[in-house]
């Protein structure tokens, strides 16, 4: 069974600090997606990475796909209260259409 483990499960930091959250697996994925889910809403796609070693930036968010395509990280610079939410990673299985979802990192940014 393919699993995606996210760490930490919960993170509460002050506005302006930097943070990194991780998404790890022992399996290879064809792609890795990061979503943010706010309370009372569905997940919203932030980025898709497909190439081992790929780095994508979205304003203050930096996403990296591991060289072996088994893991990924999300780094936020100078976190803001608007970054608060549940960050989910989802890996695309190479053999079919399915997404394997992690349990998420709940992030709280305090003003």
């Amino acid at each position: 069974t393919q699993l995606l483990e996210q760490s930490p499960q919960f993170l509460s930091i002050q506005e302006g600090e930097n943070l990194t959250v991780y998404c790890n697996s022992s399996s290879v994925f064809s792609s890795l997606q990061w979503y943010r889910q706010e309370p009372g809403e569905g997940p919203v796609l932030l980025v898709t990475v497909v190439t081992g070693g790929e780095v994508k930036k979205l304003k203050r968010l930096t996403f990296q796909f591991g060289d072996a395509r088994k893991d990924s990280s999300l780094h936020i610079t100078a976190a803001q209260p608007g970054d608060t939410g549940l960050y989910l990673c989802a890996g695309g299985r190479p053999d079919n259409y399915q997404l394997i979802w992690g349990a998420g990192t709940k992030l709280i940014i305090k003003p």
């Binding site: 792609s31 569905g42 695309g92 998420g104």
Partner: protein, 117 residues
């Protein structure tokens, strides 16, 4: 462009009762997904439709859950009878196609929060 619509937003029922959820995907999206998200967990795929055909329902508890997408547009998910452990958020998502390896972007609705007492 209108997003994925779901109703109701909240539902409270007693165990052994029945409940139905409705989803209207983004216009033109051929693929529709129903997920169950239990508090503290990531979404779990229950069923995936391509137009009006079922692509994957391997994780759907078929003794109590059913879903249909008769005209290839909107969809309903039903639970009959409900159990306490069915308390969760039920998310509907749609995409233009299923893609390979999860490449197609899935657009999610706001979800229906179900509480079974």
């Amino acid at each position: 462009e209108a997003g994925v619509a779901q109703s109701p937003r909240y539902k409270i029922i007693e165990k052994r009762q029945s409940v139905a959820f409705w989803c209207n995907p983004i216009s033109g999206h051929a693929t529709l997904y129903w997920y169950q998200q239990i508090l503290g967990q990531g979404p779990k795929l229950l069923i995936q439709f391509q137009n009006n055909g079922v692509v994957d329902d391997s994780q759907l508890p078929k003794d109590r859950f059913s879903a249909e997408r008769l005209k290839g547009v909107d969809s309903t998910l039903k639970i009959q009878p409900a159990k306490l452990e069915d308390s969760a958020v039920y998310l509907c998502a749609s995409s233009l196609g299923s893609g390979q390896g999860g490449m197609k972007t899935q657009y999610f609705g706001p979800g229906t929060r179900l509480l079974v007492l």
